[in-house]
Every structure is written in structure tokens, then in C-alpha cells.
Symmetry: C2
Subunit: 144 residues, 2 copies
Amino acid sequence: MIGKHIGKFLLDSGDPLVVAADRVATVRTENNLLHALTLLSSLGYSSVPVLDVEGRLKGQITLAGIISGIKAIPTYDWDSLQTKTVSEVMDSNPGRVHENAELEDVLHLLVNNNYVSVVDKKGIFLGIVTRKGILRRVNRLAHE
Amino acid sequence: MIGKHIGKFLLDSGDPLVVAADRVATVRTENNLLHALTLLSSLGYSSVPVLDVEGRLKGQITLAGIISGIKAIPTYDWDSLQTKTVSEVMDSNPGRVHENAELEDVLHLLVNNNYVSVVDKKGIFLGIVTRKGILRRVNRLAHE
Ligand SMILES: Nc1ncnc2c1ncn2[C@@H]1O[C@@H]2COP(=O)(O)O[C@H]3[C@@H](O)[C@H](n4cnc5c(N)ncnc54)O[C@@H]3COP(=O)(O)O[C@H]2[C@H]1O
Ligand SMILES: Nc1ncnc2c1ncn2[C@@H]1O[C@@H]2COP(=O)(O)O[C@H]3[C@@H](O)[C@H](n4cnc5c(N)ncnc54)O[C@@H]3COP(=O)(O)O[C@H]2[C@H]1O
């Protein structure tokens, strides 16, 4: 029974579970790495979704992935930040769900990811569900 | 009543909630930023705890914090990665709890942090509780 209870509780709360696309920082596949590095470090996000020119989800990029992507001998090749593109270092198979996904699928993906991207049937990016969204609800559940 | 139920459920599970200190990657206050950047990007962690020579928790450092810390005009001052130290860019007030903390305090801190550090009465670092640890249990709760 608690399975159904927690499902209803996690979905019923006032604030929406999905952070809508217009409030999510993203980068494009063809952006250079310096653009992505500056965006991520100035906002303080460790990872953001990667979209193509039509707004479809193509991947996800992390700061760690950018830094590893320019690793060279003896130190990092900082100049290649301006010549390499996001599509060269991104993870092209990020956690994603469709807009009518079951809560259990979302919870399952959030065990190993800080967020999951939400897409429509055509793959257009609609927003993200973050671990914070779920943990805020769990926090409330624990205080009941 | 669910408040007590979820508390008991989150604590009772087989695997420990705390990742012990010997399995947590950390850096020292006096390390240079290049050391921290290489550790974080090669392991893929966005942030790790910062300890002093006696093993006391002194702060937490993020990849975003390292990159912002060497920002200069017109681009980043990559050479300062070898001259600046971790203590110059770390957050010196990271989320922390004592080893006998209430679950509710841990849950509260994990809403806005990917992990919280656990310390003893003298401030010695004992390990971390990660969002994954809590979400793994929530995932199980949802499948009951
Ligand atoms: N600029 C900022 N303002 C306020 N809080 C901040 C913040 N940067 C980080 N945090 C806090 O730290 C947590 C971990 O952030 P992280 O960047 O590793 O991981 C983030 C980031 O990779 C991504 N994310 C969250 N909000 C985003 C947004 N508006 N645009 C793009 N990516 C976002 O989702 C992950 C999980 O986010 P979540 O909210 O669960 O958890 C966030 C949030 O609680
Ligand atoms: N090298 C790796 N191996 C396996 N999974 C990885 C991984 N790097 C990242 N992940 C996955 O991505 C999540 C977010 O990692 P992040 O580095 O932003 O955030 C991490 C990282 O800042 C820190 N962390 C976790 N384990 C650590 C460790 N052994 N040593 C140092 N810091 C750790 O705690 C945060 C939350 O960790 P959590 O496990 O909840 O969540 C992790 C984990 O599910």
C-alpha cells in the first residue's frame, strides 16, 4: 500500500515536478567547449542538457567531461577549448523520460543521475526533473 | 504516522547510509588547484570534501569553483592552477552533520546539496551521506 501512497504524495504536491525548458540552462551541439565551460562554471551547474538547432535532446555535458576532453601530455590543451565542440565530448545517451512516464521510471533514473530530461514523442526537450524536486517531497513526507 | 515509518524504512536497509571516509575522494587545503581539477575530472565527481592535515573537515570544492577561481580578462589564467591553493577557492561552510544526527537533518541538507559530510565531535571527517543513498531507499519504498 505504501507504494501507492508515496507515488500519490510525490506527485500531488503544489510545485511542479518538472523544471520547464525555458528555465533550464542548455547548450547546443555545435557550441565550442569554452562556451559550455563558461556557462557551467558561472551558473555553478555540474551538467546541463545538450540540444540541437530544432530543440531536440541530443545529449548531456558535464564540467568533468569538458576537462577530460582536453587532456593532453604534459598538461591540458587549453587552446582546444575554442576549437572542439560540445558534440565531441558530450554523453549522447543521457537519462530521459517521456512526458507521461511512470513516477517509478523517474525515481529509478534519479538514483544514478542528478537530473533526468523530459522529452515529447518527437524528442523535443520539454524540461528536467531534478533530484531536488523529489527530495523536497521526501523531506515533507518525513515531517508529516 | 508515515513520518515514523519512512524514517525507520530509510534507516533500516542493509547497505550503510554513510560512505566511509576511506572510500571518499578528498583533497587537502594546501593542494594546488591543478591537483584538485585533475582528481575531480578524472573521477567524474563535481565536488569533494576538503580536509586539513589532521583529517578535519575544512570545506568542499567544486569544479565550477575551481574554474571561476581562475577567471581573468580576456580568458582564464590557466597558469594560476599551479600557484593557487584549494583553500583559496573552496566553500568553507559545507553541509555537515554529526555522526548521531537525526535523519530529518540529513534529509533537509540533501534537498540543496548532492551530499553532506559526517564529522565527529572534534570535527574529524568520518564520511559522506549521498543523495544516491537516500534515493536508492526511496526507490525501494516506491516499489513496495
Ligand atoms: N545555480 C544554482 N542555483 C541553485 N541551486 C543550485 C545551483 N547549482 C546547484 N545547485 C544545487 O546543487 C545541487 C546540485 O547541482 P548540480 O549542478 O550538481 O546538478 C544539477 C544540474 O546539473 C541540473 N540542473 C538543475 N537546475 C538546472 C537548470 N535550471 N538548468 C540546467 N541544469 C540544471 O540538475 C542537477 C540537479 O539539480 P538539483 O536542483 O537537484 O540540485 C542542485 C541544487 O540543489
Ligand atoms: N565516479 C562515479 N562513479 C559512480 N557514480 C558516479 C560517479 N560520479 C558521479 N556518479 C553518479 O552521479 C551522481 C552525481 O555525482 P556528482 O559528482 O555530481 O556528486 C557527487 C560527488 O560530488 C560526491 N561523491 C559521491 N561519491 C563520492 C566519493 N566516493 N568520493 C568523493 N565524493 C563523492 O557526492 C555527490 C553525490 O553522489 P551520488 O552518489 O548521490 O550521485 C552521483 C552518482 O550517482
